[in-house]
């Protein structure tokens, strides 16, 4: 039996739930979002209306959604996990068929004024379904091949659809986010070792495939890898973004050039300065102090999520929190590593800071699940 049939009397009800919200996480998220507003104001050259204001509205909408989700009992969310996953899967298929083409890839659906990126939704619903799956599955069976394969299928079907968009960054995040839930659920480490070995082999194969008829990646993806491996080779061509981003970041020094004083971003040397590369402006204007502080905010959010998961004796809740926390971690780690030149540019935004629509709203609402698990935990 799962822990959800625990003593319901100990769970807070009605408005008393407000007292049981994990407030540190909420406050840390608001603080991070405020850093984002500040940076969006700065990169717009002191203009609120360009990006900061719409971002505030979206964040507010996300927060409202978060609280609604938080106050709905976690067992409801467990029960709808499969449905949510299937809906996201159908939307992924729809986006493949009818999606709007943007940046050379099919990524979003236009529903009235809404611009829905099903791949973002899938990041959360995938984690939900896997957590529910391992909650349902007898813990003794988690490492049996057939049950591992089923979990792998749950991850790989949407991943394949996202990869076809083609969106490499998000598909990698799906695999890693899903893998984290499997890992937390206790799947044998041998499987992970095998996958890592297979991936290493595949990478070799991918490079071997380049220029042949069975080429495995798009040309632009190969070029991004080239750029990553040697950005200096063509500082004005494909490596331009990364070179300029690193100059911005490095030139910030310890304390930065001051708010609104970043020469790199002001002179428009920086590409996508308000979306994926916003961290460079922060690092340029507030220096190492600012950059490390933002990283600290992110890590603190993780710490509080993990603390909440450790306390939670409900298997679904704990796995869900690990999954959401991992997704959050992947956002900031991939984005920061990307702008700092540690990994190729894959187009992942900085969570809560980058200007973005669905991606941010969905992430904030995913924290509603974390809060619901926290409020309704067995006591």
């Amino acid at each position: 039996m799962s822990y959800l049939e625990y003593n319901v009397k100990t769970v807070p009800t009605g408005f008393r739930k407000v007292l049981y919200v994990n407030w540190p996480i909420v406050l840390l998220m608001v603080a991070t979002a405020c850093v984002g507003f500040l940076m969006l104001y700065s990169v717009a050259g002191g203009d609120m209306a360009a990006w900061a204001e719409p971002q505030m509205k979206r964040f507010a909408a996300g927060m409202a959604g978060m609280f609604v989700i938080a106050f709905i009992p976690i067992w409801f969310w467990r029960n709808v996990s499969l449905v949510a996953y299937l809906v996201a899967l159908v939307l992924l298929v729809l986006v493949e068929l009818f999606g709007t083409i943007g940046m050379g890839a099919q990524r979003w659906l236009e529903i009235g004024p809404l611009r829905l990126q099903p791949s973002e939704l899938m990041k959360v619903t995938l984690v939900m379904l896997l957590a529910a799956y391992y909650d349902w599955l007898d813990p003794a069976k988690v490492s049996r091949p057939q049950w591992v394969l089923l979990a792998a299928a749950i991850i790989l079907v949407p991943t394949a659809l996202v990869l076809a968009q083609p969106n490499l960054g998000t598909s990698l995040m799906l695999v890693m986010g899903g893998g984290a839930v499997m890992f937390a659920a206790g799947v044998s480490l041998w499987y992970f070792a095998a996958v890592i070995a297979a991936v290493a082999g595949t990478i070799l194969a991918v490079f071997q495939s380049r220029g042949t008829s069975w080429q495995l990646l798009q040309d632009y993806q190969f070029r991004r890898i080239d750029t990553f491996l040697n950005p200096g080779a063509d500082p004005l061509g494909a490596g331009y973004n990364i070179t300029q981003a690193q100059i911005a970041l490095g030139s910030g020094g310890v304390t930065g050039k001051g708010f609104m004083q970043g020469t790199q971003s002001r002179l428009n040397f920086l590409p996508e300065k308000h979306t994926d590369f916003i961290f460079t402006t922060l690092a340029e204007e507030f220096g190492f102090v600012g950059a490390i502080s933002l990283l600290a905010l992110f890590v603190l959010i993780l710490v509080f999520c993990f603390a909440s998961a450790f306390q939670n004796r409900d298997r679904y809740s704990a796995l869900l929190i690990y999954g959401v926390a991992t997704t959050f971690f992947l956002f900031y780690a991939v984005n920061m590593a990307m702008v700092m030149g540690l990994i190729p540019v894959v187009g992942v935004p900085l969570p809560l800071v980058s200007y973005g629509g669905t991606s941010m709203i969905i992430l904030v609402m995913a924290f509603g699940l974390v809060q619901s698990a926290h409020i309704h935990r067995p006591r």
Binding site: M1, Y3, W136, L137, D138, P139, A140, K141, A180, F183, A184, A185, G186, P235, L236, Q244, Q246, I247, A248, L249, G250, S251, G252, G253, V254, T263, Q264, L267, F269, A283, G287, F288, A291, I292, L295, F298, V299, L302, F306, A309, F310, R313, R315, A318, L319, Y322, A325, T326, F329, A333, M336, A337, M340, L342
Partner: protein
Amino acid sequence: MPGRRTVRDNGEAARKVGRRGVMLGLLMGSVSIGLAMRMRYMQIEQADQFRLLADENSIKIRLIPPARGLILDREGVLVAGNEQNYRVTITREDAGDVREVLGRLARLIPLTPEDIEETLAETARRSPTVPITVADRLAWEDFARVSVNAPALPGVTTEVGLSRIYPLPEDFAHVLGYVGPVSDYDLAKLDKPDPLLQIPRFQIGKLGVEAKLEDELRGKAGERRIEVNSTGRVMREIGRREGEPGATLVLTIDHRLQNFARARLGTESAAAVVIDVSNGDIVAINSSPSFDPNLFVRGISSADYAALTEHDHRPLADKTVQGAYPPGSVFKIVTGLAALEAGVIGPGDKVRCPGFVELGDRKFHCWKRSGHGSVGFSQSLEQSCDVFYYELAQRTGIDRIAEMARRLGIGVRHDLPMSAISEGLAPDKAWKLAKYGKDWLIGDTLNAAIGQGYVLASPLQIAVMTARVATGMAVKPRLIRSVGGVEVPAPVPEPLGISETSLAQVRKGLFAVVNGAAGTAKASRIDDETMLMAGKTGTSQVRNISAAERASGVVSNDNLPWNRRDHALFVCYAPYEAPRYAVAVVVEHGGGGSLAAAPIARDILLFALHGGLPPLSAYPASQRSRIEAELGALQLLDEATTVRVRSRA
């Protein structure tokens, strides 16, 4: 379904989750530490190196404005081109003390204190990195002087750009319009402005063809990646991608005819339109007086501008398409055709004209006070009998007349790439009710019958009407022959749907207007069997004639101030048997159509038919010496000065 698990199982599973959670946490923690170390490495250890790179960040991307598309006449003669333009710009950020640098610059090139103040204001208003033009259209010597002294002038850059020039300025002013710098208003109109428009003093079409075909003419921007040193001076060019020049436009207009028409209109406030009836090509479209569009390109002085706007002949207005005039008796073609098509008048039917008709307590006069007596259809056009058309209009009804007007192109928009095209007006009952909330009165019908009252038509519209009557086809005017070497398909005219017998009757009447013994335009007939002309005069009142004035004798036009005199109109086509060109001429406040408009129309028509100055033999013998003097006095274009461009087509 798994069976009930024991509490111990759950406890063990939860501990496992906890252990894996710790491992996950440690992994994330170590990655985060790795990120922090990378930050430290870049921002502390390597900060100096990166700062140096940022300071030296010297690569800038500049747009290269493309050459604007050329505009040629139908024979490939250049009517809008580009010339080299030497200019000097200043960038605030690099200049440091802008006033000081401008002061030094003023010793090298002619700069007035006002120019300096203007530039200072502009540099303060724009971003410090945007180059602001200080002086434009410099002489080569001045330009060279600035280049040589460049080291003493930080932030000053010399550039060679292209600027629009109109080699036949006055002939094509209204058709082409002109270009001018992009205004905030222009930018506000666009959702996604082309980045080119942000270039200081980039010029876009403001009026006419230049504006309407802006997208085709503009071309695509090129890109230049340049390395600049710390003062912003360009050190070298690293990469260059040329833009695409704008498309070359070929007009349907014949520059020689266009030039002749303008010269022939002289200083009158007038308009002339010539249409090739076979395909709708507009071979000349001229509004007089004209102006020099080059003045606008260079930035017109307020004195010049005031002279243009205050001139009572309104040189800036394009009277050919913007002007809407009561067409007067020219409209009798419409009323007559409507009546014939409605079957309210038979071939032999006559109407008696006593000089007026009485309608209730109002009297509607014929222009001939004594009346025309008994008048048949052909005669009614020949002598332009008003009473005949009062009667016809009453029998036909306004709605059928308005329908015929629209079918012939009056009261409908002819979509040409020109600015502020007037729709004219073919009034009917529904229109009056909607516009004034009043019922249509029979008096309105009588006024409309002779092209007065509410009826309005532009010179282009009456030219189209003439072409349609001449051919029986729904001729559609066309101004652009090809864009970028791609032929603009000439619209295939469809039959008008008017019976050939009705058209033949009207044409017979129009022939009599010019060639009949009592024709109103018989003085303007063509004395060449192969080029016989048919036409219709029109004289439209711009004022009401009161009963009192009529009693004491209508004041003749000559005794009126210019702007209260009647408009003179004339439409015609030739040759009568096989129509080639249709011409419409409107002379504002010119007096009578037969005197002021018809001679001009005849000269233009003959010029078009001959492809040059017509031989005197085309004119009636008695007029030849006078015509010779008149045509000889015209100042026409010297063909040797035109530039012929071979179009790709």
